[in-house]
């Protein structure tokens, strides 16, 4: 639907806004690695779609909070400048459910967003004497 400007939006519509496509993901807030949660495979599909879980046919996803999901969450958190915990904390979930562009963040396993950049912690530090 197109609205020429905000004032053209009918009041009845404002009071009955439908839920967003990913609002249901909020239910996964606080989920922990190593456990199983109903519907978690949908979140894996999300991460696969945007490039965070590579090389997996989406039909094979189960509801286990496994290492692949934890790794995807960490990479996502790095790309979005969040605390890298590997957990579905409230802050991370708030980012995940935000509306976004459909283009993947990681394409063919590569990106130059934060997660694809050289990790400064791997640098060799030298001191000149």
């Amino acid at each position: 639907r197109f609205f020429p400007d905000p004032s053209s939006i009918p009041t009845w519509m404002s009071n009955n806004a439908p839920p967003g496509a990913w609002d249901g993901y909020r239910n996964f807030t606080g989920c922990s690695p190593g456990k199983t949660y109903d519907g978690l495979s949908k979140l894996k599909n999300y991460f696969q779609h945007f490039g965070y879980i590579p090389n997996s046919p989406s039909s094979n996803f189960n509801d286990d909070f496994d290492e692949a999901l934890e790794s995807a969450i960490k990479t996502y958190q790095k790309n979005f400048n969040l605390n890298i915990t590997g957990e579905l904390d409230n802050t991370t979930m708030n980012y995940i459910i935000k509306p976004r562009c459909g283009v993947a963040d990681i394409i063919n396993g590569t990106t130059s967003m934060n997660s694809g950049k050289f990790n400064s912690s791997n640098e060799i530090h030298t001191v000149q004497h």
Binding site: P4, G20, T111
Partner: protein, 194 residues
């Protein structure tokens, strides 16, 4: 800023790209003007200009609003979620989710509808993809992957400008300022003064 793998871009020497709207849409002039404004954000800083054409089949960039599965393997998902997507050069496809509540003009932040999405903000982002930019981790950048509803973000940030000028060079008339009032970007030293 980032590029797509292999750094695809429009061919060297490209000065003008044409764009057209899916003829099934019958978009009004004010909606089309939003896209013209969005293209202009990129023209201001780089060497490519954009012209609308009525010849959809031959246009470099093809714009359309679609619902659900629309045949490109990237189905839309209804209200919010995925808002739009565009393909890397030189594909030219630019698709927007018809299910969204698009606000064409005015201050979207004043909208009473929690799902309202600013059309121009999304258009500016997707044009970045059409030109060859990927997603950026800098939250203020146009090429940051997410945008909240009732949010307007149409001005290119330093990161966006650096990225597009890396691909195509700078508009000779670009003086480092994308708006007359909101920012003053010193292109000589990469320092921005507000």
């Amino acid at each position: 800023y980032t590029f797509f793998p292999g750094q695809p871009r429009w061919p060297a020497g490209t000065e003008t790209l044409t764009y057209a709207f899916d003829p099934n849409e019958n978009l009004d002039d004010s909606t089309k003007q939003v896209f013209a404004n969005a293209f202009n954000q990129w023209s201001k800083v780089t060497t490519i200009t954009f012209n609308e054409t009525t010849s959809y089949n031959t246009a470099d960039i093809k714009i359309g609003f679609y619902s659900g599965d629309h045949g490109d393997g990237e189905a839309f998902d209804g209200v919010l979620g995925t808002l739009a997507h565009a393909f890397s050069p030189t594909d030219g496809r630019f698709h927007l989710d018809k299910a969204e509540d698009w606000v064409v003009n005015g201050d979207v932040t004043e909208s009473s509808l929690s799902n309202a999405v600013d059309l121009e903000s999304v258009a500016v982002h997707e044009i970045g993809h059409l030109l060859g930019l990927g997603h950026s981790s800098i939250e203020e950048a146009i090429m940051y992957p997410t945008i909240s509803s009732r949010t307007r973000k149409v001005e290119l940030e330093e990161d966006d400008i650096d990225g597009i000028q890396n691909l195509y060079g700078s508009n000779p008339n670009f003086n480092g300022t994308t708006t007359a009032t909101s920012r003053d970007r010193d292109s000589s030293f990469g320092v921005r003064h507000v």
